[in-house]
Symmetry: D2
Subunit: 339 residues, 4 copies
């Protein structure tokens, strides 16, 4: 940690700052340049992050040197993590595709879509049973009935299930049916929920919050890891922007940036990331070209009848084309889609 | 709802859209202008919001006419709501000030601060017992012990308590000790939590999410109201921006804008809204001048020792000045601080 | 244009609005639904955009039906425009790559870099002679000397030149040396400059402003087109976001979105779009996968000595790899790099 | 400047970085902590800003210690600057109000509005003769005719004129008629224009760019100051946000933040800052309460007929109320409106 002092900081203030730092267990060194004095603090910087150093008289700016997360960082583990979830690998050379309807609306529709996405090459079935909806008057999901259908459909085709957990009280129920627990964007900083899935030691798909910085995203992952659960897949799903042409801006540069900071696999969600059916194919291609370790895509056999997110779902035929294209692009980068 | 068609939409597509709308129970009217055909849909628009109309072939754009929320809107109730929480009024001519430490760190500090903010004119004591912290390694609050101190301190001075609920499993515990339940910015779209406080019929302080639009903010309030709880205080607490000089941008224009759309009272949080101690006084003044129905301010007797948010806390003496100033500004607008 | 009235708008207000619209030459129709009355205005909507209709008493909201631009829109011209600039095509099946140093720093460096990027497959040489620099104390470019080197180097290898125009007073000078005039992001709404390059009938590379919506971007292009110049290449170069890990967020979904609205070709700038050398290769790949009609890339033989933007320049060897990769990805989409 | 090294940076890389820094004329010191080595560089940091230090092998992060601007900073001049423009003071205890129509639409309307705003207490007349318009089809201003009317009207009432310069070619024309030259938000980084008004030594009203950070804003002011012109008034006029309820978000915390960094006076523009007539009064009050040194407000006698920005103009009667209110609020802060 570097503490930059105000130009008029006096000896008493400097001594007070040094005393505080030493009281926190840090070694300090002082460096007086022409225009500013700076104090370096050597020790476990994470212990200092929490201290309101900027309120100390004479302090102009506090500059952290280390990243605020540890277990999920590249410093902690250099090589990329490759998760193996019941035989499906994610990370390294392995690209995993998750697909299915936004909400589970019924048994038949789910089996139909599951079969179509399986045949196209997806190995993880997505679908919501508990839905976070902006309006209290909108369809809120089928609940446990939806979870049962998901499990059944996935088992029929030899797929894994990923579904969202919204409430810590539902965790046992969700764990009965799913292989991967999704933490949605709105809950990225629901710290209690993060701790619960951390303790549950189940693979977690953690979505980036709507306006979360990459550091905050990795801190949320650190919450899970700090409970001893390292089976975390990060998901870039679009961030809020000033332009309303798309629902969100899919921040694909987050993929190489996260990979430079963390060992965890990162996938992309072009459905939520754009909110527009016509953008899903190009952005799925782009995500793989940018180095994503997977995709999560909403597919519906009749988007105009979907009970949620129809606007951002694609047809099974379009998903076939998408898979064909991403397989080729993956191959040019010497990677492959897990099948 | 107005549906604007693509320039090349044909008769079959138009008929299909009309059929869909009538199937949903809407009356339609068609209007062909030079460059575009538009279809108006008359009926309960909220029922249509949820339908993926934009996926219908031939549709260029779907334009809602009504706001998505109802119970919290000015259409529903014209006159401003004045809450009366155990004798403290908020709204209309009444401005209420909530103040206290970020976290309850101990009994003595809390009593000291409570006394100081009470003497300066605050009638609602704030303080966190369960803290949402970005880092899993940071101080997470005293839990029930903190709640007890809050209740005791408030009772000693005849104040109300406001404290945050983070987890639906804590609601009974929190309700034992508090008068107003705070839903934090990170939980603004934790819909389960919103429903719980809706059912609990307790006064709620709902903070705006970091990147929530005003419509989304009011939809979150609608979740609470839709469970039959209308005792809602909205709180503008800063939104995320591209500039990092302040932690957030306190969006004061949200105050008149919300008041043009909703009957609920709105307060401002200059502490989180700026994240800088030196901005709290000017922004508190500005919030009252912009028409806020109250303030929530972090006060600490020794910010450099605070276990959380010391950077954005002010000293009791500074709070005295703040109260003196906002009382005068309130008076120029023919309003007064509740005491 | 649709005018939505307030719930309490009375007959006199409605009549006043209708009179205004008819005075502006519009036909109107009235539609009274349960909760709102709406007025449709039929006529040349662009003429109405400029009118402050929202100030009319009784108006709640004004909803435009048409896009604000015309000549650059898909409504005006359905098929994609393919520019042919002295034999180099951009658009349709043709992908064009522009590469070179940020600033022209000298004759030798420019010839060396030009040769390298030419050999890798770039056919348009980029380089700044007049530089917009955030600091008045930074290197501002070589001026005409730089332009001369650019022309010479390009001619030696049979390349085209693209360089930035910052000041209307420089236009004759710039036109002496360049094939394509670049309008930088900071000047996207420098309307005088847009008109000048419109009148000059020279091919224009128009960069998206740092916080320009796609509609505003296309309106800037409309300024150029409205002067009779349709040789416009749009360039997505990153937008401002709340995260500072990258200098900007390269908004790749803008590519399919613009293509759904306009017939003009769109390229991407992964150098400015991310500001990080390690993101340029993945984001160049992603841009082509998302459907970009070209790339503009900063290449420098020794980034650590570059006088500007060294942080976001790649080495010639890295550019070789980039070109190899984007050629394969282009081929999978049945497109090719112009050579 | 502090250079933080990657954890695996070796001796050769460290030596190379040190050599570079010394070659640039800096003294260096090395500090090895447990997890990172850092190098401090002592010398004129502004000279280093321009160097691509982050491209040096082994560098993880470059942390500037000083602010990038100098002449406009508080380090350079501690006490607040009070401008005196022909007897009207801005800064310190003096608050100056600029008011008038968005565009000069004709002689009569301008004289009427000028008289009204003068009587209410404004001493600086605003009005556009050359208008930056998003659409090429919109009213572009009366040009020199408008400038003449402005001068005439201002002289009749003993007011000053402020009007916008958009093109360096217009500077002599503008200077014939105006007392203060406005640089609009879209031109905040039109560096050529900044240099021209810097050389002209005329008082400048510099508006913050739509997505300019406060540091970038102050760097733009530094451009003007670096040419020897210190008569600069900064203007917060709203920044771009994700919410579209208001045209922009008026960032009032920018006022105390700028005042902590710079000695220049800062005013606020609630008209552009919100784009909504109903927000102007509360936000003008709030701006003064936040410490603004002045206001610039659009006033029109018939907003529904205004040729530009009618949506964000207020009536002369509303301006009377605004002035009454801001005078009282200013007085509570021991300041006064210049009259």
């Amino acid at each position: 940690m570097i503490i930059v002092l105000k130009p008029d900081a006096g000896e008493i203030e400097i001594q007070h700052i040094v005393d505080r730092l030493e009281q926190y267990g840090f070694k300090t060194y002082l460096s007086k340049a022409a225009e500013r004095t700076i104090i370096g603090a050597i020790g476990d910087e994470r212990a200092l992050r929490d201290k309101p150093l900027s309120t100390l008289p004479g302090v102009e700016k506090v500059v952290p040197i280390l990243k605020p997360f540890k277990l999920v960082s590249k410093d902690f583990k250099k090589e990329s993590t490759v998760l193996d979830i019941k035989g499906i690998k994610i990370g390294g050379k392995h690209i995993a595709v998750m697909a299915g309807p936004c909400s589970v609306e019924g048994r038949d529709m789910l089996f139909y879509i599951a079969e179509r996405v399986y045949r196209a090459g997806a190995r993880i079935l997505r679908g919501g049973a508990f839905k976070p909806r902006t309006s209290p008057y909108a369809f809120q999901g089928l609940g446990e009935e939806g979870l049962k259908y998901l499990r059944e459909a996935a088992d029929s085709f030899g797929m894994l299930v990923v579904t969202e957990l919204m409430d810590p009280r539902d965790i046992d129920l969700i764990l009965k049916y799913t292989d991967i627990v999704q933490i949605g964007a709105r809950n990225m900083q629901n710290f209690r929920l993060l701790k619960e899935v951390g303790k549950a030691k189940v693979p977690v798909l953690l979505k980036r919050g709507l306006s979360a910085t990459i550091k905050e995203f990795l801190m949320a992952a650190e919450y899970i890891a700090s409970e001893g659960n390292n089976d975390i897949i990060l998901c870039e799903r679009g961030i809020r922007s000033f332009d309303t042409e798309t629902r969100n801006i899919l921040d694909l540069s987050a993929i190489p940036v996260i990979k430079s900071m963390s060992h965890l696999p990162v996938i992309a969600d072009p459905s939520h990331g754009t909110g527009r059916a016509d953008c899903i194919l190009p952005m799925a291609q782009a995500a793989i070209a940018a180095g994503a370790d997977g995709l999560i895509v909403e597919v519906h056999h009749c988007p105009e009848e979907a009970l949620s997110d129809g606007d951002q779902s694609i047809l099974p035929d379009d998903f076939d084309l998408l898979m064909k294209r991403v397989k080729i692009i993956a191959a040019t980068l010497e990677r492959h889609i897990e099948e």
